[in-house]
Symmetry: D2
């Protein structure tokens, strides 16, 4: 769920989504399993894509973002029940790639519990090749982030 | 997330939880995958268990509910984005089993999209055997449901 | 993975697939989480669909099986590591529905640990409506099962 | 499932596990979802931990490996059906951390489709603190890898 109300720790993140920790997100160690964080990152990216038009516009042209690389740093364990804020902000736009930084804040612990980075590539599913980031998309992200990105 | 605000369609459900459909809940058919509904049912059961003390009290005695049987009827497809209300109500308490009925309501479609039933058994993880539903638990459920259950 | 080598307990199941229990299939109770069994059933159904031509043929016509109802009976807990055989057999073909029965056998425990039932409906994704089971598909299933199904 | 038979591309990986791609591992883009790769890495790590005694020995002392950081590079899309080999090898042992490198090979494509890295920390669940890698564990890993690791 996208949200306008966000914790101070995520003040610099342009798109903040929220999620309830589900009991079943936990594994046999009794804490949230490592793969679940990537589901949360994904939901945040999808909201980001929706906000800057990345989700809609390119669909006509069979373009869609595809993940090239992703990472997560686990800072603190998360348990059910908890309510999390996931922040996302674009930190770099390359020729055909876009880097989104994520951070996760726990309401229960009042702390950042994880952060990470998604590198997406604009992908043409018809030709199965990456393609340059359109200028209109670059502009939309700049409006969302309130800054300009160097053209690589 | 538990909620007090619930749609009319779930008026008869004592415990209503909510969840945002995540993009990644969808499968290659472009709708929410069938297994995800059971994660939503589980989250609802856990909230139910928390409300009637089933989650806490028995833990001391190494007792916990274990699923004996579960089912789901898929009425309408669900897609991202959507916001769902999941209702749960106890419909039967047997000697050692408890049956919870679930229903899922889509805010997007303003309709019930699925329903199902969980049969739980109180399980002693130390002896690995089922055990009778304690009277205190039966009473707590009766208070929550506002009705009495026949003793089997 | 489909397999020809199957345990005696699944002798009556026409399509048997196998799967390794992954560590991450387990939840905070230290056993395989209830939703995972439905992923296993699904993989078995997909292999079944592939064997009887259900997966391929209808795709041209935008037809595909959609789940109407599914259930699982949990008989014994499953833990990592284990290797499972999942059996599937068609038990009923209605006008537009098909019922597949599943059973799961644990190599570790040398026992059936769960069983269940999937009711699928042939669905036309273009018109968003169910449609009758084609005769050719009925015949293919009869060959696979070595029996004939009454026309409803 | 651990395997001795491994593709040449994974010759340098000491622990190779295998997995069938399940239909349900795919998302609405029709390829395997990004989070699933981390489940495969995890299964490989667990087998690695089992081989070098990391999984058993420390359990008595309430020690267990916890993930500090993980990453994945997606090289090629993966689809169902496919059969994958996941390689794991220890590349660094620090004071309290251990780095495992992973690579995934697709039988269908006969190519490496992804690689990544897991940084684990030995964690004492009782004191909730990281602790030094025991010498016996370091030795066991050296035997498994057939090389020695510098003491940091």
């Amino acid at each position: 769920m996208p949200t306008l109300d966000k914790p101070d720790a995520l003040a610099d993140y342009s798109v903040v989504t929220t999620v309830d920790v589900q009991w079943g997100d936990q594994d046999a160690f009794g804490h949230v399993n490592n793969v679940v964080y990537f589901r949360w990152f994904e939901s945040n990216r999808m909201e980001y894509a929706s906000r800057c038009g990345l989700a809609d516009a390119p669909r006509e042209a069979e373009l869609a973002p595809i993940l090239a690389r992703i990472s997560c740093n686990y800072r603190l364990q998360v348990r059910h029940p908890d309510f999390l804020y996931i922040g996302g902000r674009m930190t770099r736009i390359g020729t055909s790639s876009m880097t989104v930084q994520h951070a996760i804040y726990s309401q229960q612990q009042q702390k950042l519990v994880a952060d990470g980075e998604s590198v997406m590539v604009l992908f043409d599913y018809q030709t199965q090749q990456s393609c340059p980031v359109p200028t209109a998309l670059r502009r939309a992200v700049e409006v969302l982030e309130g800054c300009s990105f160097d053209v690589p």
